[in-house]
Subunit: 407 residues, 2 copies
C-alpha cells in the first residue's frame, strides 16, 4: 500500500475547527487507500509564545533548555490532532521526536537529522494506525530534545517521507501553492501546477517563503515528490518534482524577491592580491554570509571599489568586523545601504535559452530602474535594485517573461 | 553530602518573577551545602488550559493522548526554571519524566509509579548539576507518557525523595504551612511547626487541600521528612514527621472540613442479612466510594433506615445505581442531601486521652448544631452536619480544643 506523508503548518492547526479540517484531509487520504504519516507544527503563535518565555528566563536560544521548552508546542498539536482522528474512529497516536526516534546532532535550535528509526512508525501502521509526528524536533543520542530551526517541521516531513519511501509528501499550508510571484504584489501572479526541485531550491534561497531551502534540498536529494497545497481549500496545489516530469517548460518559471539584504561598499581599497581574502575571511569567521559581490575596474591600477551584500540582520556586526579589518586595508570609506531589494528570475529553461538576462536588463532599463549588482547561476539571475522600485520591477518582469495570468 | 528535594507548585511558578524566586530558594539550599533535586508543577493555569484543549478535541481524559498533551505544561516550567538557574551560574538541567525515567503503569491520567531509575539524576548531580524534574508525569515501559492525577507533582517529589534517600522534601506552595484550621474561616487558626504523618494523612483524607493523601502516604511509608512552606516568604513551614519527633503533643492538632460530600438515606429497607452487600456492592462496582455509614436501629425488626455519604460529584451516578438495586431491595424512598459538611478533628493525642469525642458532641450541642453522622478512627472523629453551620462549628471546636492562637 502506498504511503503519503501529510504535514500541517501552524495556521492549518490554529484552532479546533482547523484541526478538524486537517483531520478531514487525513481521512480523505486514508479513504483513497493510502497509508498516512502525519507531521505537525505547533498551533499558530504557540512557538513564538514559548520562545518569548524562554527568552524572558534568560535562555540562550542555542541551549538544550530552550529546545526542551519550545518543543512542547508540537506535543500539544500532535495530541490534539490524534484525539480528533480517534474521535472519528481513526486509530491515530502521537509520536514525539524521541519516540520515533528522530536522532539529531546536538546543535540545539538548528540541529541536523542524523537518522530515523522507522520501526515504531512501521509497527503503528502495521497495526492499522496513523502516526502523528511532532515536527521541528528530534532527540540526541544521549536523550536531550533538539529543534531543527526555521522550517523544521517541513524538514521533519520531507526527511520522514524519504526514510519511509513515501509516494508523496503533502505540505498543507495557508496558500494555494507556489506562485509565479508574490500575489500580494503582482495581482496577475498565478499558481504553478508543477515546478522542478532546482527551481524551487533557487526560489526558496532567493526569498520565497512558501518552503525552506533545506527541506527542498532534502526532497531533491532523495527524489521525494513534494506537494504544496492549501489546508483550507484542499484543492490540488503545486507539485515539486524532477525536471523530466515537467512537460511544458517556461524559460522563466517564477520571480522571487528579498528585502532582507543590505549592501556595503568599500571605497578606495588598494587593488592588490590578498585584499578580498583579508576582507571576507574575517566576515566568514564571524558567521556572516556574503551573497552578491562586484568589484569595479580599477581606473588607476592602484585602488578600487568593492560592493557586496550581507543579510540585513548581520549589517551591524559586519560593519564592526570591516572597521577592524580596514585598519590594515585602508579603504577610504565604508558605505552601508539597507534600502535595497533583490529580485531573482528563476527557470530551468534558461539553460537552453539565450537572452533571458538581456530581457531582464532591458525591462528594468525601460522603467528607469538602475541595477546595482548582478549575480547569476545556471537557472537564476538576481539583481539588486533600490527598494523603492521593487513592486514596479516585479510587475514589469512578470509581464516581460509572459507569466501574467491570461484569465 | 545531604540531598534535599524541592518541589514548586503552579502558583510558585506563575510568572517570571515567581520563577526567579523559586530559583532563589534552590540557590539558598545549594549555599547551605545541600545537593538539590527540583520538582516542578506546570505554571499556574497551564494544566487547566491544556485539559480544556484536549477536551475540546474530544479527548477521553484517560487516553494516552490526553496525557501527552497535558504533560507538556511541566516541560515548559522545568525548562524555564533550569534556564533561570543557569543564568545565575547554577548548572541546572531539566529532566522530563521519560528522561529520569520515572516508570509508571499505563493507567493514563492516574498512573501509579512502578520504579525510578536513579542513574541519570545521580550522574547529573555527580557532575555538580541540579536536576529540574517535571512533576506529575512519567512514562510506561513501552514509552508512552503518563500523568499521575491530582497532587501528582507532590507525589513525584516525595517518590523521588524516597528513592534518592533525601534528607528532606520541601513542598513550596502559596501558604505558610499546615494550619490548625482553614485561616480563611477561623481567624485564630495558626501554623503548626510540626505534625505527624498519621495526622497529616487524616487531614488530607478529610478535606485539607495543602497536601494530597497519596503523597503523605508515600512519605509515611518511606519516612521522608516533608516540609510544607511558602515560596513567597521562604520562612520555615510545617514539618511532617514521625510521631516520636513531636515533643509536645496536643490532643487535637488540627480540624479539617469538606463540603464535597453528599448524604443519601434509604428509608424502609428490609432489615435482613445481605442487604448492605446488595446495596454497596453495585456502588463499589461503579467506582463510587462510600464514606460514612450509619444504620438505624430497626424499631419493628422488619425494616430500617440506612444513611451514608458519597462524594458530591458521584451523587447522580450513585442515585442511578441505587434506583437499579432498589428494584430488588424495596426501600420505600431514597433521599439525597447535598447541603452537608463534614468536620473532622484529628490528633494522635486521642490515643491516650479520653473525652475527645464527648467534648466535640457537647460543643456542637451547645451551639444547637445537630450531628447527622459520626465516624471515627484511632486519631480522628468526623461528624456530618448541615452545611449552614460549618463556620460556626469550626470556630467553636477550634476554641474548645485550645487551638486558638494566643498572640
Amino acid at each position: 500500500m502506498s504511503l503519503v506523508v501529510q504535514k500541517f503548518g501552524g495556521t492549518s492547526l490554529g484552532d479546533m475547527e482547523r484541526i478538524a479540517r486537517a483531520a478531514g484531509h487525513v481521512m480523505t487520504a486514508l479513504g483513497s487507500g493510502h497509508r498516512v504519516v502525519v507531521v505537525v507544527s505547533a498551533m499558530a503563535g504557540e512557538t513564538d509564545r514559548l520562545v518569548a518565555l524562554a527568552k524572558a528566563a534568560g535562555g540562550d536560544p542555542e541551549s538544550a533548555e530552550h529546545d526542551a521548552i519550545v518543543a512542547s508546542g508540537e506535543q500539544v498539536s500532535a495530541g490534539l490532532l490524534a484525539l480528533m482522528l480517534r474521535d472519528t474512529g481513526v486509530p491515530a497516536r502521537s509520536f514525539h521526536g524521541w519516540q520515533v526516534p528522530l536522532i539529531t546532532d546536538s546543535s540545539h535550535s538548528r540541529a541536523r537529522v542524523l537518522r530515523i528509526g522507522p520501526d515504531a512508525l512501521g509497527a503503528c501502521m502495521e497495526a492499522g494506525g496513523v502516526p502523528v509526528v511532532t515536527g521541528f524536533q528530534g532527540v540526541t543520542d544521549d536523550g536531550r530534545i533538539t529543534t531543527l530551526g526555521r522550517g523544521g517541521s517541513d524538514l521533519s516531513a520531507v526527511t520522514l517521507a524519504a526514510r519511509l519511501d513515501a509516494e508523496r509528501c503533502d505540505i498543507f499550508t495557508d496558500v494555494d501553492g507556489v506562485f509565479t510571484c508574490d500575489p500580494r504584489i503582482v495581482a496577475k501572479a498565478h499558481k504553478l501546477d508543477m515546478i522542478t526541485y532546482e527551481e524551487m531550491l533557487e526560489l526558496a534561497s532567493q526569498g520565497a517563503k512558501v518552503l525552506h531551502a533545506r527541506s527542498v534540498a532534502v526532497a531533491m536529494n532523495h527524489r521525494v515528490r513534494l506537494q504544496v497545497l492549501s489546508s483550507f481549500t484542499g484543492a490540488p496545489g503545486t507539485m515539486v518534482v524532477d525536471e523530466d516530469e515537467v512537460v511544458e517548460q517556461q524559460v522563466v518559471s517564477a520571480i522571487a524577491y528579498s528585502k532582507d539584504d543590505a549592501k556595503i561598499t568599500m571605497i578606495g581599497l588598494p587593488d592588490r592580491p590578498g585584499v578580498a581574502a583579508a576582507l571576507f575571511g574575517p566576515l566568514s569567521d564571524a558567521g556572516i554570509n556574503v551573497d552578491m559581490i562586484v568589484q569595479n575596474i580599477s581606473p588607476d591600477g592602484e585602488s578600487t571599489d568593492l560592493t557586496f551584500t550581507v543579510a540585513e540582520s548581520d549589517l551591524g556586526q559586519a560593519l564592526a568586523v570591516l572597521a577592524e579589518s580596514n585598519r590594515d586595508l585602508g579603504a577610504s570609506d565604508i558605505v552601508p545601504d539597507s534600502s535595497v531589494a533583490k529580485v531573482s528570475v528563476v527557470g530551468v529553461g534558461m539553460r537552453s535559452h539565450a537572452g533571458v538576462a538581456g530581457r531582464m536588463f532591458a525591462t528594468l532599463a525601460d522603467r528607469g530602474i538602475n541595477i546595482q549588482l548582478i549575480s547569476t547561476s545556471e537557472i537564476k539571475i538576481s539583481v539588486l535594485i533600490a527598494e523603492d522600485y521593487l513592486e514596479l520591477a516585479l510587475r514589469s518582469l512578470h509581464s516581460a517573461y509572459g507569466l501574467d495570468a491570461t484569465d
